[in-house]
């Protein structure tokens, strides 16, 4: 819910700066290591956006992959799943990225 609230707040601020009557679409990029459930985010957003110009906004979500590298053998992993924290060699995988939450762009009716 906190993420949905931050998203709504920023989207409304940007839309109001443009004098928008309605927010049609919000494009966001979410790091996969934030482990945000997109359906839940959409649900929370719709709950709090009602009676605002964002109430009918479609959320378009792109997931950003984390980059993983084994600290023992150097093997590179370009995505995670819920069990991929150790490498085939037994070494730990260190991850970079995958933790951002970016409001990319808005489609507005002005």
């Amino acid at each position: 819910m906190g993420y949905a609230e931050a998203l709504l707040q920023h989207a409304l601020k940007l839309a109001e700066e443009k004098g928008a009557k309605e927010i049609k679409k919000i494009r966001i990029a979410i790091g996969e290591l934030l482990l945000i459930n997109p359906e839940q985010l959409k649900f929370c957003f719709s709950a709090i956006a009602s009676n605002t110009i964002a109430e009918n906004a479609e959320l378009e979500i792109e997931f950003l992959k984390a980059e993983g590298k084994c600290i023992t053998c150097g093997k590179v992993f370009d995505s995670i799943d819920s069990t991929t924290y150790i490498c085939n060699c037994g070494g730990l995988i260190e991850f970079k990225g995958g933790k951002d939450f970016i409001l990319k762009s808005l489609s507005l009716e002005v």
Binding site: G2, A6, L34, Y85, K99, S105, S107
Partner: protein
């Protein structure tokens, strides 16, 4: 009416990152070692703070900030020890963030060690850097021995993992070795098997604290 597209590229976590950096600079400038003590509800975070103050309070200036949803139960336990302490009520937010700490930390400028007790939660606090030096993650055997495997991210990012209440493992059917193995599969952090009421693992914890404070070079302040 017509439709327009606007580029935003707004990092919604930017404000927390900025405030966490500012917190971290404040701590470094003032020579304060900071622990973000995270863990499940009832895992023993407050008791760990109480015992640490009792053991090291005469050698180090220790302060505490305690987060909780409502009321000040944890704060009151720690404040009774006579240390500088502050309470933060997070309300419906399930974690502390850098903003909540930002205006309070100036009251702890002369501390050697600041212990921040995060809200009891193994999920939400992960993404919110407070500006700490060390993330301590605490669970207990009474949460089930699969609790670590179920919450990989918080353990992956821990600097120290504490498995508490080990004396109760038999009574609740928890396999402590499995918990250690699960933690080891996620992190190279030191793991302490602890039971605060039985005194197990507490010396290892005190050694960790002493090493952490010495690394920051604050041991002579008090």
């Amino acid at each position: 009416m017509h439709r327009i597209e606007i580029e935003a590229e707004v990092d919604l976590l930017a404000l927390n990152k900025k405030l966490a950096r500012e917190n971290r600079e404040f701590f470094r400038e003032n020579g304060i070692t900071v622990f973000n003590i995270m863990g499940a509800i009832g895992s023993g975070k407050t008791l760990l703070i109480e015992k640490t103050v009792e053991a090291l309070g005469s050698q180090l200036k220790i302060g505490a900030i305690l987060g909780d949803v409502v009321c000040n139960a944890d704060y009151e336990r720690v404040a009774k020890l006579g240390i500088r302490a502050d309470a933060i009520n997070t309300g419906k937010e399930c974690h502390l963030d850098a903003h909540l700490l930002h205006n309070r930390i100036k009251n702890f400028a002369d501390m050697d060690l600041l212990l921040i007790e995060n809200v009891g939660n193994l999920i939400c606090p992960v993404d919110f850097d407070l500006g700490e030096d060390y993330r301590i993650v605490m669970v207990s055997v009474t949460e089930g021995d699969d609790v670590i495997g179920k919450h990989p991210e918080i353990f992956r990012l821990a600097d120290l993992i504490i498995i508490n209440k080990v004396a109760l493992a038999g009574a609740v059917g928890a396999d402590v070795d499995k918990m250690v193995e699960d933690a080891r599969s996620l992190s190279n952090a030191e793991i302490i098997k602890m039971d605060l009421k039985e005194g197990i693992g507490f010396d290892e914890w005190l050694n960790f604290v002493r090493r952490a404070v010495n690394v920051s070079g604050n041991s002579g302040k008090s």
